[in-house]
């Protein structure tokens, strides 16, 4: 499960390290270290961290189901379905 943190945005609130300590850790007072390829069983914790991050800095890769869903109701986005297959 891939993820990336936009560390320009991250303000070191450590919410993620609290909710998914196996994936995120503080290094010093406000530097964040994280594992960019977290184990699949961490998904629930990471999703909680994504939701809790006050600045929305964590980008978690969509699952195949998410992508399929994005492809389906594409009536809104017009021709946008080209991507999700």
């Amino acid at each position: 499960m891939r993820l990336v943190v936009d560390l320009n945005r991250c303000q070191g609130y450590a919410q993620c390290a609290f909710l998914a300590p196996d994936v995120f850790a503080m290094h010093g007072d406000e530097s964040l270290l994280y594992n960019p390829e977290a184990a699949a069983e961490q998904r629930e914790n990471v999703e909680r961290a994504v939701a809790a991050c006050p600045v929305g800095a964590i980008l978690l890769e969509l699952t195949d189901e998410d992508m399929a869903e994005m492809a389906a109701p594409d009536a809104v986005a017009g021709a946008g379905s080209g991507g999700a297959r």
Binding site: D6, N8, N35, E37, G80, G82, A84
Partner: protein
């Protein structure tokens, strides 16, 4: 109304069945591709990358990976959506035919495009002596393979690591070495680490940080040569002050070179300083005329920025690659009136010796610096850079929550020195100091921002008007 219907139709056709080619399949390339699909681009999308890997993230390479907290081949970037692209990985683009709208590949193939995005980034500047640079144990750090190789070399427990160049990457490597308990020497030609990016006042703070953590920091010296043993493994380095340091791992951190050679002779305005483009990411040709179908984004681009006197900025910043890719992709699929300028305020972060360093704006433009909060000695502070009476940049050490405030100051061209009081301003923050950047006309390695616009002090061309 002339032609409106016609051009509308062309854009609709491009979106429906056009061919878009992206050269450089990394951060900027991937994010641009995602935005194109989000905007409803349903045509064919080709991603060309010379590395054999799908797009991956580089910042962890000098941080988590060297610390052994993450593996180099586990840094592939998450996808925001599927992009349904034709991936041509492991093959470089070697040429561009602008009139035939064709990209030539290293394997002889040619790919036609209606719109081209160039996002070929930069590569590590190699050690100038190729023979010495080829010694076993000598590394640069730019790619996943570099990261993997260096991490293995560190894990093997070398007796001493020598880092040449104390820019951000060099400093992060030194920091990781110390954290792993390895002896490390850092050689820096300038007066202190990070001087090129943040100036001498902050450089002094960085120097103390190195020394306090047991780095053998040598400033004001150059490495004049690397010496190998009979088996071709690096053994020692010779310095300009006559000294010698024995090291079995050497990391060359001398900044980066733009990947533009493949465009030589194409007629595109591409050179060692990058590819010049307008604020909407459209590339210039060598005649200074903006192209309509070629866009650039990321480390390889240089574009004018209104906040900084329309100087052309080349940024080697993660956030810039993401933001510029998004703007380029949007503009590639928009009518001219709907295009957006790329006016992102430069920002980057670094993490070394457990300290979070962040900056916004263009510090090297600053002539003065004022510590507005905290103190340099405690290494927890915010400092602003002044240029002609306005705030032009800010840097924080372990104080990042204040950065958005200073960003706003830069965006609103707030006065310098700041007329307001701050919560924890110390006596040292009462008077601005000279920011103390090295003379920009002296070449240095590894600038994170290059000012490459016209300046009257920088006369490289003679203007010769034609005679009537």
């Amino acid at each position: 109304m002339t032609g409106e219907g016609r051009s509308d139709g062309a854009l609709e056709r491009l979106k429906r069945e056009g061919r878009i080619v992206v050269v450089g399949a990394s951060l900027a390339g991937l994010r641009a591709a995602e935005t194109m699909r989000e905007k409803g681009f349903a045509g064919s999308l080709t991603m060309i990358g010379d590395e054999p890997y799908e797009p991956y993230d580089r910042p962890p390479l000098s941080k988590q990976v060297l610390l052994g907290n993450a593996v180099a081949d586990h840094t592939a970037l998450p996808r925001r959506r599927a992009i349904d692209a034709d991936w041509r990985l492991g093959v470089p683009a070697t040429g561009l035919d602008m009139s035939a709208r064709r990209v030539r590949l290293g394997n002889g193939d040619e790919v036609e495009y209606d719109r081209l995005l160039i996002a070929t980034g930069v590569r590590a500047r190699p050690w100038p002596n190729a023979e010495e640079g080829a010694l076993k144990g000598v590394f640069v750090l730019r790619t996943r393979d570099d990261g993997e190789g260096l991490q293995q070399a560190l894990a093997a427990g070398p007796r001493r690591v020598l880092v040449i160049g104390a820019g951000f990457t060099g400093s992060e490597i030194a920091s990781a070495c110390r954290e792993r308990g390895l002896d490390v020497t850092v050689a820096e030609r300038g007066a202190a680490p990070l001087v090129g990016a943040l100036g001498g006042v902050i450089g002094e703070v960085a120097a103390e940080m190195h020394r306090e953590h047991g780095v053998d920091l040598r400033t004001g010296v150059m490495v004049t040569g690397l010496e190998g043993d009979p088996s071709g493994r690096v053994r020692a380095a010779h310095f300009s002050d006559g000294s010698t340091v024995e090291a079995d791992v050497v990391v060359v951190g001398l900044g980066a070179q733009r990947n533009t050679e493949w465009l030589a002779g194409s007629g595109l305005g591409a050179g060692p300083r990058g590819i010049a483009c307008d604020a909407g990411c459209r590339a210039f040709d060598i005649r200074g005329i903006v192209t309509d179908d070629i866009y650039v984004a990321g480390d390889v681009a240089r574009s004018p920025h209104a906040l900084f006197g329309y100087q052309f900025l080349s940024l080697e910043h993660w956030g810039n690659a993401v933001a510029q890719a998004d703007t380029a992709a949007h503009n590639m699929l928009s009518e001219s009136a709907d295009r957006r300028p790329h006016l992102w305020v430069p920002a980057f972060w670094s993490s070394q010796f457990g300290v979070n360093i962040k900056s916004v704006g263009v510090p090297p433009m600053g002539t003065e610096i004022l510590v507005t909060q905290g103190s340099l000695g405690e290494r927890r502070f915010a400092a602003v850079y002044g240029y002609q009476g306005r705030v032009i940049a800010a840097v924080t050490f372990d104080n990042c929550r204040w950065l958005p405030f200073y960003e706003h100051q830069i965006e609103t061209t707030a006065p310098f020195p700041p007329p307001f009081a701050t919560v924890d301003r110390r006596p040292e923050g009462h008077k601005p100091l000279p920011a103390d950047f090295p003379d920009p006309s002296v070449p240095t390695h590894g600038p994170t921002i290059t000012l490459s616009g016209y300046s009257p002090a920088d006369r490289k061309m003679t203007f010769t008007p034609g005679r009537p």
